[in-house]
Symmetry: D2
């Protein structure tokens, strides 16, 4: 039986202490504490839970350290923290319950670097569990971590025969953690994988059995390096990084549309030069490309690199690019979509079961889904509806806590059914 | 008689305490202290020395305050400082010595925001008067301020008949202070004006009687404001400030060359956007235009505004521009050039007198020259040679202190001669 | 009963005499001749068949006249020709057969401005009915005109109760004729409309009951006008149309992608300037925008105009745009798709019935479909498969003449059924 | 003694039959006819007068042939014409008159591809010697050819001791003929070279002894080749030559200004693409770069190539460039300027002698001047003033025929003086 109060209390604890990507020190320690209370067979944290070389978009050391200190001050367990130091957050919990398939559940745990509303109409503000860190759980990952723990507990108490692995993944918001977890080795024996999201404009009582049309994405950091010169006295001696970046931008947005489907490109951050009267020797640009399939993302990526290299060369500059985040596209498998549908359909609190819906955004759970599917396994990305007053990523986002037990029931039920039916 | 030791000691004091544009608190206070020692008939400081509304490129209040505190800590006179608060630096000193013309001398007093060399081959480092503020007198304005005081003292001790005004101008390096001083009212009765620069690649013992070919310049700060949007989910809802700024840059550099003479354009600073996956709603750009005549600068300015406005409109953005610094072009008058030449020619320490040379850069002394010339007066910009190991604005720039008494003698002598001859 | 030989002979006659958009003089006269032979109740040609003010992409008078002369030389009826003079091609034929609905059939009749293959493997070349005009029926409109006549004859011989209108539309290849026919008034009482295409990569024996995903399109001719200047002597006096057009191009391709679906943009033709050493005073550009819905096309159109106007203004030029062709998007109605499917399913020569397919290109039959649908009528765009050795618009395109009687049977059958069932 | 009437009659004959660059068939034949009448020691025409491999901007064969036919029709000598066929126009005439230096005189002979005014106020129209070819002598080369013949005749009748070579150069207007003549071998023994221009805004009676500040120039033809694609159906398959050319243009104009002096860049002609709905596979661009020194022109040339290559590569295109015309900068030598001044000063019809003036444009006489100067010889470019109602290159340009005998006298006199003084 799912204990709603406990789920709510847990979710509020997470909500009060949101930590952005790779800074989920307190959050991971709290998850570990809960897992130890519940009891698991194996527990991997920090470098043991991830392929640390595959982490993307890791912030500078000083930034990591300041959140580490904050986690310490907030009372996180020092021994656990020590293992996570340097941005090795996240955990993998394993429960072995006899012969049967290995089933995975992936939940993400990071918050967003934005302020939370102080409006009294905003429940967390009114009820006193508003963020205390300056960051915010504005995308429901507090609920995801909670449901991950709830499902694990529920499965341990059930007749489930097989192995359950719950992946508490860091750094989803920067599409920086999925690949590192997918390449941790822990996915290698997973036969069935579920990933989970609350909300996505679906109300409480609605369940979407399979989310599709993830936009594959790649975040690219670019640095142009040229030669400085005095803009009045010797303009001809400069190799102008500002001109290089401007040429790149104009031509990046102009990459041809593709007849196979949707593509995207954006230059979201820009910084260049030191002084008005100096030809800029350096410019930095943060951009992204997307495609509704991984292949379309690769098309955009290849064209983007062609533009960047030639924009640099055109102005006598060097360009350097690095991947700051990435996720492929994915599709939920029919067999699991069907099973989720049947389980959800049998749940008294579920009023409407939707077969499939399109995400139209990006998500790095797709790295884990791809890993399982490429080995012949099955995967599905399930949406558990929740009434949310503000939109995702806004200051007034909140989840309806009634959706927490629904999420635990539907997913735990589906996991048990998977082990029975082995579709 | 000019006292070399006193000039050197004064120059080193200034060198030790360089302050960038509009932050010359300690420097102004020290100048005031000297002026009071010498004795002047009128002394204007802070808002009384400038038309404060015409100041350009004034830094934010917090930045000003931190230098104010530093000046206090360094022992500057509190009463004087209080008058300067909020970036009202600089001073005008007046000496009245009987009937005769009004002669002006303009010297600039600000340092540059750069580190000074610690190399033992760098005399200030070796002799212990290296900068203690993090900024640096890397363009000789410590010497200019010193010569300004030296000339004032020398003139008071001479037979000069007339009125002498010495303008200690702040914020030359950002071409931000010249206009404010030119419009202070203190120029309105000046019949003859001299401005002064040390070095400019001329060695000690050389004097250039008239510097010309100042590039008229305008620094323009631009802000593009559009509409943010999620780059994956709703790219069409954005009005992209990054695209606007890129279009502007490409077309600014492409403003047609002009057959009347040299023009320049540069975008030296750029900053835009908040996140890789958000269509940028804002972009800021710091650019400049120049021309070898004021008219050519105005041509560039007009075309630049046309580009900026249409680049913004093309991408659904607003653009806002503000002038962050400005200086016209100017030409030294033949009559004064001739007089400087004769005076310098009669000076035993001057080995070579050069008639005229081109600056090929920008300077806002031109605002003061223009003010005098437009009223029918005469003006000249004089270069007093000095051996300088490093180039202007580099970490190893230094002046040969032997040039200080030469500067005082030549200028004081010329000022006396001007009063006699009234050319 | 459909007479295959007669259809083949008619199609070959059309194939031998292809005429590009608005030059279908001989073709229209030949259609009129056939219609008079068959016998129709009403017949409208030239200005009576079209709203001539709504014609787009009409070629210059001299070009029209040279094709007019050619038609005369080829033996077209002079009286008919006289009515068509000046690019008023096309015809509408009406058959009234008692009480019942009004059903329309639209076929297009223009050829393409390209050479036809002389290869012996190319059937028209081998069998002696290769184009004699320099243009080519490389998209099957010879077959369309033939089927239009065949259907009309078949319907007159059937039990069809109602009114049949066959629209022989000119200038589809330049999306220039659809609007003029849609606004002719002849569509105003049409209850059901069918349009037809052969091939589209579907083999003989296949019928697609409803084609969808027409890309709405707009062809825009743009002219930039600036000021000439000698590029060496007075570059600043120019207002450079070449710079304007380059800015426009760079930013047209960079119009943001839209989350509602596919969009397109292309600059396909460019011409500017007179001499290497003259700043260009004029530039002409032919471009197009598309969208998978009419709304998306409008989005692209609006953004394109914003880019064009501001690119011109940025460089001191004027821009003038004119619509050179246009077509909305459309969707085939379920009721008619269903009916086509049933009719085709009952045809012995039809091996495979496909419910729906996407065009992924543009077509101005959509203007006629839209006109009918907006008045509450139903419309469907039917594809009759045909083996075609070369792709559409290539030199070796040809239709399998076995598909002609299939087309006549399926469409005539459907039209009779529509009158019976009135869906 | 110079015969004014003969000069006038000759000039009007040339004026009536203007031929553009490399098409000067009739003109060359007429010059040869005159030279044979006067009598010369050596005469080189066609391939013997030029290094034909170094010709630039030669028009297509068909264009050349149509002017060849026209020359035949106009009665030119067939034997001479035969030698010129294929665009080998121009001539070199040599007169040997005893021991002495070799002196060269270069005159250009081509017309411009523009219509001549029919206004009665335009003397050639009123007096009946307006152009009969559709081209126009709108830059005075009819007068140059005339003066060249007049000087040759005058020198043969004088005491001149030495060798005189007169270079009748084709294709100056496209800066296409100078290099071919400079590399013909005929310059290799020239000790002193004069070149000549009428007008240049100097009135009749004025002589400028040395023209300077020629803008070195290079005309570059560029072809971008990509891949075509259907812009609606498969935009991603294109490699877009229109995008390549737009990127190139934007960045060509944005090549940094140079502190050493004036530079120029222009894209004067543009043509691309075949159809609105096809991604353009080809684009052609005619551009030029200039600099007030040859070095500055080379700077622009190098940067232009960098832009062009990378603009192509950025869009998956190839670029091909070819030199369509070229000329270096040059300076008239003091010794000759002085001599021209003295001779002109002694001429009763010369009212004003100007030492030097700047051209501010381009001229390929500089190739010949450079060839002589690099071997240690001296060269000067002389301007003989003439009242001209319309500006150079306009429809109402005309020369004051009084300037013809002045030109002959001053140049013949200078050539004699050179042989005497050997400066």
């Amino acid at each position: 039986m799912v204990d709603r109060d406990r789920l709510v209390s847990l979710r509020r604890a997470f909500h009060r202490q949101p930590e952005p990507a790779w800074r989920e020190y307190w959050t991971t320690a709290r998850i570990v504490e809960e897992l130890e209370t519940i009891g698991v067979d194996e527990l991997y944290v920090g470098p043991d839970a991830l392929n640390t070389d595959e982490r993307m978009a890791v912030p500078p050391a000083a930034e990591l350290e300041s959140w580490y200190e904050r986690a310490l001050d907030a009372g996180a367990d020092e021994d656990v923290l020590e293992q996570l130091r340097g941005g090795h957050t996240g955990a993998v919990a394993v429960v072995e319950q006899g012969a049967g398939p290995t089933v995975g559940l992936r939940v993400d745990i990071d918050g967003l670097p934005r302020e939370e509303s102080t409006d009294e109409a905003h429940e967390p503000a009114a009820a006193g569990f508003r963020s205390g860190t300056g960051a915010m759980h504005a995308c429901g990952h507090d609920g995801h971590a909670t449901i991950g723990l709830g499902v694990l507990e529920a499965v341990t108490e059930s007749d489930f025969a097989g192995t359950l692995k719950v992946f508490f993944q860091p750094a989803e918001e920067v599409v920086g953690g999925g690949k590192a977890m997918a390449k941790s080795g822990h996915l290698d024996d997973v036969d069935y994988l579920f990933a989970l999201h609350l909300g996505l404009d679906h109300p409480t009582g609605e369940v979407v059995c399979g989310i599709d049309e993830f936009l594959a994405v790649k975040h690219i950091d670019v640095r142009f390096t040229g030669e400085p010169a005095h803009a009045g006295a010797k303009p001809e001696e400069g190799e102008n990084a500002v001109q290089a970046v401007a040429s790149a931008i104009q031509n990046l947005y102009a990459i041809p549309r593709h007849s196979d489907g949707a593509t995207r490109v954006n230059v979201g951050r820009l910084e260049a030069g030191n002084a008005t009267n100096i030809v800029a020797e350096a410019a930095a640009m943060e951009c992204e490309v997307r495609g509704v399939t991984t292949k379309l993302k690769d098309y955009m990526d290849e064209r983007a690199h062609r533009v960047i290299e030639n924009a640099a060369a055109m102005h006598g500059c060097e360009s350097e690019t690095s991947v700051a985040g990435e996720a492929p596209s994915a599709r939920s498998d029919d067999e699991l979509v069907d099973l989720v549908g049947r389980t959800a359909g049998g749940n008294a609190d579920v009023e409407r079961v939707v077969d499939r819906d399109a995400l139209g955004g990006s998500e790095d759970a797709t790295f884990l889904m791809q890993a399982v599917q490429q080995r012949g396994g099955l995967a599905a990305y399930v949406c558990v509806g929740t009434d949310h007053p503000g939109g995702h990523h806004t200051a007034t986002f909140d989840v309806d806590e009634d959706s927490l037990p629904i999420g635990v029931d539907v997913l735990a039920g589906t996991i048990e059914a998977v082990a029975d039916e082995r579709p």
